[in-house]
């Protein structure tokens, strides 16, 4: 049955098509987009098939590459957690690919389009692979595939992007090397690289100091890749200066997939009784998250560039996910996993809006957004949905994950984390209402004087429909995720949390 091959096809299909795109691009550049579209649609179908299989059989899929037996061969293990993230990554990357087609026209020279689409597909390959794999070293290789395409694709951006990308290369390499070292420590202690196998063998080594160092290397390595405070220094420059479509792909997905890897390592590879109970890992992560959120919120308040402001919001959002992990109970982890999915949609929404505003007006400066509601009503409506969701207004999805995070912090009796969650929500409100105020409210004098210069007549957005439709769909996704968050928790996330917790 072809359905059984879905776990590997979801990685192999975009990988092979990425190179076909490059070859076809030599002959006809227009075809590139359609190949990317087909590849990502196929990924979406595969991921939905995988989710369906996992839900019906109720236990993880084990796919053996080349039919080699697990401890020796590479194995793809997909449980409820992977499947949920695979579907979200596939949806967002497909929508962003459609969005990218017209958005790129202004930002990238036409001759670079085949290379861009190749890197785009390689990026998605890496992200889907990281999520699907059940092998520590395979994860490292796929992490590097995703990072390499990110380095190159970010360097295609505006002035200064090449320097930002170079700094990202240095930081990213330290991160990947730290991850590799962690894998080495685990290999020395257990002699295995398969996550399930390592998890079985590790309890014998729980009191070894080397294991603790290994865990520290994992957290630092993945922390750099996902932009965890204080390892996020590369993030604002790289994501701000990248082309709009690239930030809309990388910012929501790469950081969240990194958060997934942290959860996978801390709760599947290492037993929660080691990574949380034996050592105060959760407390350390909690303090890092608390300081990081406040720092990032204050830095975001200081920015006038919309995209740079959103980059700091991402750093704060990563802190939210860490708070869920640091609470170390079912409620907190439910919140963290739900927040990974929600945040993918919220960040994709906000970054696509930033790109659309840049497409029509050529500016990202918040202070120049005046009268924007007259010329871009749909874009700004989408922005309001995304912004309210990040702030945490009830019917939208951001509220529910924050609700579970708060419940988790209360149950763990970590009052500092609770206070940080509430304070940061208030700062978010200021942050986003500042943008909404600039865009919606008009200065009074414009009505008094018969001055009509900066007073455009109301029109619909001049942004092409292929950019508007993905934005509206993502906004609809935010609302639907909010409405159906109860179902997602009961049917998927409940099974994704380790039973010992």
């Amino acid at each position: 049955m072809i359905v059984e091959q879905f776990p590997v096809l979801i990685v192999v299909a975009p990988l092979i098509l990425a190179f076909i795109v490059n070859v076809v691009g030599l002959w006809n550049r227009r075809l590139c987009f359609y190949i990317v579209f087909i590849a990502l649609s196929a990924c979406l179908v595969f991921s939905l098939g995988i989710l369906n299989t996992v839900l019906t059989q109720g236990e993880p899929i084990h796919y053996r590459l080349g039919n080699w037996q697990p401890p020796w061969g590479i194995e793809y293990v997909i449980d409820h957690l992977n499947a949920l993230i695979l579907v979200s990554v596939a949806i967002i990357s497909l929508l962003v690919a459609v969005y990218a087609k017209r958005s790129l026209e202004q930002e990238i020279h036409e001759s670079k389009l085949p290379q861009f689409y190749t890197l785009f597909l390689l990026q998605v390959t890496g992200l889907l692979g990281i999520t699907a794999t059940g092998d520590m070293f395979n994860l490292y290789v796929l992490l590097e595939i995703a990072s390499f395409s990110a380095y190159a694709i970010i360097a295609m951006g505006e002035r200064g992007a090449d320097f930002a990308a170079f700094r990202y290369v240095l930081f990213g390499t330290i991160g990947a090397c730290a991850y590799l070292l962690g894998t080495g420590y685990l290999y020395i202690l257990t002699g295995s690289l398969n996550m399930v196998d390592v998890a079985h063998l590790l309890p014998q080594a729980f009191y070894s100091k080397a294991l603790l160092v290994g865990l520290a290397f994992f957290v630092v390595g993945v922390g750099i890749k996902m932009g965890m405070f204080p390892l996020h220094i590369w993030l604002p420059d790289a994501y701000t200066l990248a082309p709009s479509a690239v930030s809309a792909l990388l910012a929501p997905l790469f950081t969240k997939v990194g958060a997934y890897v942290i959860i996978r390592i801390m709760f599947t590879v290492f037993d929660p009784s080691f990574s949380l109970a034996l050592y105060p890992v959760a407390d350390i992560l909690g303090w890092i998250a608390a300081i990081g959120i406040l720092f990032a919120c204050i830095m975001a308040l200081a920015q006038s560039d919309l995209k740079r402001m959103l980059c700091y919001v991402i750093v704060a959002e990563m802190g939210y996910i860490l708070i869920g992990i640091a609470s170390a109970n079912r409620l907190g982890l439910t919140g963290a996993i739900l927040h990974i999915v929600n945040d993918m949609f919220m960040m994709a929404c906000l970054f696509t809006v930033a790109g659309a505003i840049f497409y029509q007006t050529g500016t990202r400066n918040i202070n120049q957004f005046r009268y924007l509601h007259r010329t871009m009503p749909i874009t700004l409506a989408v922005f309001v949905v995304g912004a309210l969701s990040v702030v945490g207004v009830p019917p939208l999805c951001g509220f529910f994950s924050k609700w579970y995070l708060i419940l988790g912090a209360i149950q763990a009796q970590k009052w500092v984390l609770l206070a940080v969650l509430l304070i940061s929500s208030l700062i978010y409100a200021i942050l986003f209402f500042r943008v909404i105020e600039c865009a919606y409210l008009e200065p009074r004098e414009a009505h008094n004087h018969a001055y009509d210069g900066g007073h455009p007549t109301p029109t619909l957005d001049r942004v092409p429909i292929s950019m508007l439709a993905p934005m509206v769909l993502i906004a609809a996704g935010i609302i639907l995720l909010g409405i159906f968050s109860g179902k997602i928790i009961v049917h998927i996330i409940e099974f994704a949390i380790p039973a010992t917790l």
Partner: protein
């Protein structure tokens, strides 16, 4: 003390190389030197992995004589062979390292073409204008 260092000398060399690489990446102003620091950092880890696979007095992991008739009588003793798995992993890691260096060098060429320098402070100065 000296015995502790000498008996585990591979770990000490690896740690020193790691710190040298990190120092190069953090303290040097020239981007090329940062890149060299990055390479030292990566190679330290590769040497670490290779050294953990090695054993004293062991040979290459090729089991000879398995093509004869009495294959089942041959017993492979793991202690006689070096562990091939870390070496195989590092083959991949070397490729990854070369790809990183390639990307970084390509970026350096682009940076040099645009700003006419690869000194970090001069580039930051040029970007502020």
């Amino acid at each position: 003390m000296l015995e502790v260092i000498l008996s585990k000398y591979n770990y000490w060399i690896f740690s020193i190389l790691l710190v040298v690489g990190l120092y190069g990446m953090m303290a040097k102003n020239n981007l090329m030197k940062k890149l060299i620091g990055m390479n030292i950092f990566q190679w330290a880890i590769i040497l670490f992995f290779i050294s953990i696979g090695a054993k004293r007095g062991a040979t290459v992991p090729i089991i000879t004589g398995t093509h004869g008739h009495d294959t089942h009588t041959i017993v492979a003793r793991a202690a006689e062979y070096v562990n091939p798995l870390p070496h195989a992993l590092m083959l991949t890691a070397i490729v990854v390292g070369i790809a990183t260096t390639g990307i970084a060098l390509a970026l350096l060429v682009a940076i040099y073409k645009r700003y006419n320098t690869i000194e970090e402070d001069e580039i930051i100065e040029a970007l502020k204008k």
